[in-house]
Symmetry: C2
Subunit: 108 residues, 2 copies
DNA sequence: TCATATATTCTACAAAGTCGACTATATGAC
DNA sequence: GTCATATAGTCGACTTTGTAGAATATATGA
């Protein structure tokens, strides 16, 4: 137990939580861009998602092909319970390191 | 500009802020252990500190040898202004991804 | 001058981050 | 049917970060 999540892994996992049933490569990429301004290729997202799945932190399933104007079927992703735990732990670690520092640099 | 900090880099940088004038390898290692429960070798800390310095995110200076019972002089570290900015940005990204999710998994 | 305590560096490898190029698969037009 | 085109995902490869075992450096007091 006790895996340490990478920094991008955390962002991707948060995106999965936010997106719920609509979480797949393209939307995850978009969500991170919109919320953080961070740009990256789609391949980066897919690689991360795939590695998280291998570690058992996320599940995936291929949806029915129901697109509006063609295109491959989506592969949906969601956190597993182990994934949620891992994310919570990472967040806790960061928070305990950040706690009380506000005065020293004005984060908020 | 716009460097993306690794996950451990963030923890180490927070430790520097917390420790202020008393920030050096050993205390950084200890601070992270105490606050997060995370174990790692000293070498891990030093490597990270060194890389952060190469990137201009932290400064260092070797202190006077004023130990109580022998031992090498300490190498002190502190964030540069660029380092603070980088850390703030990373924190902002994480926060904006986490914002509003509380209901979905009870972090707090 | 040496046993010992404190602190940092070296060498190496594993894991995470990143992307260019390519593949897969639906749809509508012809 | 079959092709141009749009959407979604995979491969191969390289760079950065994370990680530690072993070695080195340097004070002190006996």
């Amino acid at each position: 137990m006790e895996k340490n999540l990478g920094e991008l892994e955390q962002l991707v996992m948060f995106a999965l939580l936010r997106l719920g049933d609509d979480a797949y490569g393209v939307t995850v990429h978009q969500e991170i861009l919109e919320r953080t301004g961070r740009t990256m290729s789609f391949a980066t997202i897919y690689t991360t998602l795939s590695r998280l799945e291998n570690k058992g932190l996320v599940d995936s399933f291929v949806g029915d092909p129901t697109p509006e104007r063609g295109g491959r079927a989506k592969k949906h992703f969601a956190l597993t319970s182990g994934g949620k735990q891992a994310l919570q732990q990472s967040v806790r670690a960061l928070r305990s390191m950040a706690r009380g520092l506000d005065a020293k640099w004005g984060t908020q």
